[in-house]
């Protein structure tokens, strides 16, 4: 009898032990490899980090790498990343990268924030600069301070001036921009020739082109607004043109208000275009890829998009159908616009960040990864193969190698610009940015007026500024 009691006790103990094992297994997966004895046969390296890497006793370890280079349109950038990964693995003994591809918007707005909240982001991850992303995570202690690594590699001064700022908090750098872009107008030169239209380099030519295309049953601007970040690109540049290039930086300081007359005028302009039917029909149900499809299929004559899209119009890319028939210009000067009308939007907001929860081995891997990715060679390859503007200083001879006509036009746009302004998504707090998307969707749907849009965003901006001042 007593024996039975003991045996049933033993069974339940075994069960709880089994459950406990499940639990601790889970824990190990998310913690750093050095803490998990099952993955590494040799003892933890943290005891003697510096001199212990003797070649005969190589410890295998993996480093998770989150990237957003998914799909055909990103294949050039993925190839560069693959080369950097292979090179880094060859340099660091025992290192194996574990690639984790996640779609950009999902990574930026869903997955990474949740991982940051839980405290288990990948060791290396794609991240955006600004108050809503890098600076928020860095302030919460989730991101690795890269300043010592940059000093060790001596590459800090090789970055263009100012591009590290959205990734910095209190003078410390927490992320590195992979490249830059400017947002402007892609237009279909064949359609423009067919209807005898001038390139949309002046406001009058732009409006005439839009009206002519519209009259011929061609959508003036392909637009995919199911994710409001897409139309927000045009809104951002309209604000820069109408209200001046310094506007975007003024929202978080309180100098500029979203419901000030100038900003409202930009929203009004957008609403007017909406009313005139300049954008794709059913745009609220169309996504970013659908917008490119419309443009490539010749259903639309123009498309407002980031210069990174230029690589889609190569012969062997998704937009190969109109390769050679695409040109790029910046949004022309707006009549009565404030500020420098030659200024262009320039973003160096997307790059890589690193988890603060890393051991010495992982730090070595990160250092090698940075050394290989942020090099002249890879920066030039990004420019030549993918049309991504370098975030680091390249020699003029290197830049002169650009042969892609669209990339050349992008470079011309930037060279002719009197000043540049960032996208507000890398300036304002994430709640404010979210509100701009919500309100823009309402504006497009005709559910809100520009005044209501401005008031609603400013309300959130006020609350966030007050919270930041605390």
């Amino acid at each position: 009898m007593h024996k039975k009691l003991v045996s049933s006790l033993a069974v339940s103990m075994a069960m709880s032990a089994f459950l406990a094992a499940c639990g601790s297994n889970d824990g190990n997966n998310t913690s750093s490899p050095s803490a998990s004895p099952s993955e590494s046969a040799s003892p933890s390296p943290s005891a003697s980090p510096s001199e212990s890497a003797s070649p005969e006793k190589v410890e295998n370890f993996t480093v998770s790498l989150r990237h957003i280079q998914i799909g055909d349109a990103q294949k050039f950038r993925k190839a560069i990343l693959d080369d950097v990964v292979a090179k880094t693995e060859a340099e660091v003994p025992g290192l194996k990268f574990e690639l984790d591809p996640v779609e950009d918007q999902v990574n930026r707005f869903t997955k990474l924030p949740a991982e940051m909240a839980a405290g288990n982001p990948p060791k290396i991850f794609d991240v955006f600069g600004g108050a809503g992303d890098t600076q928020k995570y860095a302030a919460a202690g989730r991101m690795l301070d890269l300043t010592p690594i940059l000093d060790e590699l001596g590459i800090k001064d090789k970055f263009l001036s100012g591009v590290l700022e959205p990734f910095s908090v209190d003078g410390k750098v927490y992320g590195l921009p992979i490249g830059g872009n400017t947002e402007g107008i892609f237009y279909n030169t064949e359609l423009f020739a067919q209807y005898n239209l001038n390139p949309p380099t002046t406001w009058d030519d732009l409006i005439k082109a839009a009206d002519t295309l519209k009259a011929n049953d061609i959508t003036p601007f392909a637009m995919g607004s199911s994710g409001a970040w897409v139309p927000n690109m045009l809104v951002n540049t309209l604000i820069g043109r109408v209200a001046g290039e310094k506007t975007n930086n003024g929202f978080i300081t309180g100098e500029v208000k979203w419901n000030s007359p100038d900003v409202l005028a930009a929203y009004q302009l957008y609403a007017d275009w909406e009313k005139a039917g300049y954008f794709s029909k059913g745009e609220l149900g169309k996504d970013y890829d659908g917008m490119l499809n419309d443009f490539v299929a010749g259903k639309a004559g123009m498309m407002f998009d980031g210069s990174w899209r230029s690589s889609a119009f190569k012969n062997d890319a998704v937009g190969g159908a109109i390769a050679g028939k695409v040109a790029f210009v910046s949004l022309p000067a707006v009549p009565n616009g404030k500020g420098d009308q030659t200024s262009v939007n320039a973003n160096y907001a997307n790059g890589y960040g690193f988890s603060s929860d890393v051991n010495e081995n992982e730090k070595k891997a990160i250092t090698a990864f940075i050394k290989n990715l942020y090099s002249d060679e890879m920066q030039l390859r990004g420019l030549l193969e993918d049309g991504v503007l370098p975030s680091m200083k390249l020699s003029e001879a290197s830049v002169a190698q650009v042969s892609d006509p669209v990339v050349k036009q992008v470079l011309d746009v930037l060279a002719n610009a009197g000043a540049s302004f960032p996208h507000f998504d890398s300036v304002v707090q994430s709640k404010v940015y979210t509100e701009t998307e919500t309100q823009l969707a309402k504006l497009i749907a005709g559910k809100a007026t520009p005044q209501q849009v401005g008031d609603a965003i400013q309300k959130v901006q006020d609350a966030e500024n007050a919270a930041a001042a605390k």
């Binding site: 009898m1 039975k4 009691l5 049933s8 006790l9 339940s12 069960m15 709880s16 459950l19 707005f109 869903t110 924030p113 949740a114 940051m116 909240a117 839980a118 928020k136 995570y137 919460a140 989730r142 199911s226 029909k281 059913g282 745009e283 609220l284 149900g285 169309k286 994430s430 709640k431 979210t434 919500t438 969707a441 309402k442 497009i444 749907a445 005709g446 559910k447």
Partner: protein, 293 residues
């Protein structure tokens, strides 16, 4: 062995792991989310206790009020349109002499598919360029309808898809009740000269009322917790036109990282669901007499 099983502590031992899991994965998260509902927790920074601010905000938030309205539309649609249709279809199928099994299986099919599959499938049916419906409209020379992108159509499109998915399940439920009614009642009515419609309305429907009640109950509960189909098909868009309470909550908490506000919204949703089902229980179901054949 018998003596062991007489010891009450042994039973406690057996249920202990289950209770532990229940606490870990149900009670504990529920209590923490209840607590988070009163804070401004955003997952990153330390949270401050802010009292009822989240709840006040929720009821002042026009987008949340709009999502409550959408839930009410869905509820009305399921109770006032879907349930009568379910009963009519059940009556029709129950009177079919041949291939009844085929009809039963066919109507039941959609409810075994995953919601994601259905959402994507209907997304194609509604597609403005290549979709089935718009292809027909175009061949008739009509303008395409942007079902999921148009404020006027989006909610209807989702309602129809949702109805398509779940009606079969309820039809099978009611069909079982109809087929359980003894044949002699119907035969007696036939001999008395009652027409088919009369028999259906005055005999069958009253006899299956308890099952209809269950179906209405389930529809109410279903209408309040509908979210997956919305997230798959529109994500709450265009401009919040299809946002329901749960999808709004998910977006606020998970997408925008406002866990405090999201938790508060989930408490509100819980309260609303509790009140509505309790009301229905008290007002309708309790009054019912038991049906005796």
């Amino acid at each position: 062995m018998r003596a062991t099983l007489k010891n009450p502590y042994i039973y406690l031992l057996f249920v202990l792991p289950t209770i532990a899991l229940y606490f870990l994965f149900f009670i504990y998260p529920m209590l923490t989310s209840f607590y988070y509902g009163f804070t401004n927790y955003n997952g990153l920074n330390t949270q401050d206790f802010i009292g009822l601010d989240n709840f006040v905000n929720a009821f002042q938030d026009p987008d949340f009020r709009n999502s409550i309205l959408n839930n009410i539309y869905i509820l009305l649609f399921s109770c006032c349109i879907q349930v009568p249709l379910i009963v009519i279809f059940s009556l029709l199928i129950s009177n079919v002499k041949r291939l009844q099994g085929f009809y039963k299986t066919t109507v039941f099919m959609p409810s075994i598919l995953s919601t994601s599959v259905i959402g994507i499938l209907w997304g194609y049916i509604y597609d403005p360029d290549v979709g089935l419906i718009n292809s027909i409209l175009k061949s008739l020379g009509l303008e395409p309808i942007y079902f999921l992108a148009d404020m006027k159509w989006a909610l209807w499109s989702i309602l129809i898809t949702n109805a398509w998915q779940w009606m079969g399940f309820y039809i099978v439920l009611i069909l079982a009740a109809i087929l359980a009614i003894p044949r002699d009642i119907e035969e007696a009515a036939m001999i008395d000269g009652a027409t088919g419609v009369q028999r259906a309305w005055y005999l069958t429907v009253p006899l299956i009322k308890p099952v209809i009640n269950v179906v209405i109950m389930l529809s109410i509960a279903g209408a309040l917790r509908v979210v997956d189909i919305v997230l798959v098909m529109t994500g709450g868009g265009p401009a919040g036109a299809t946002d329901v309470m749960a999808s709004y909550m998910v977006n606020q908490a998970i997408k925008y990282g406002d866990y405090g506000y999201g938790s508060a919204l989930s408490i509100i949703i819980f309260a609303i669901a509790l009140v509505l089902t309790a009301l229905y229980q008290i007002v309708i179901v309790r009054r019912q007499e038991k049906v005796e054949y």
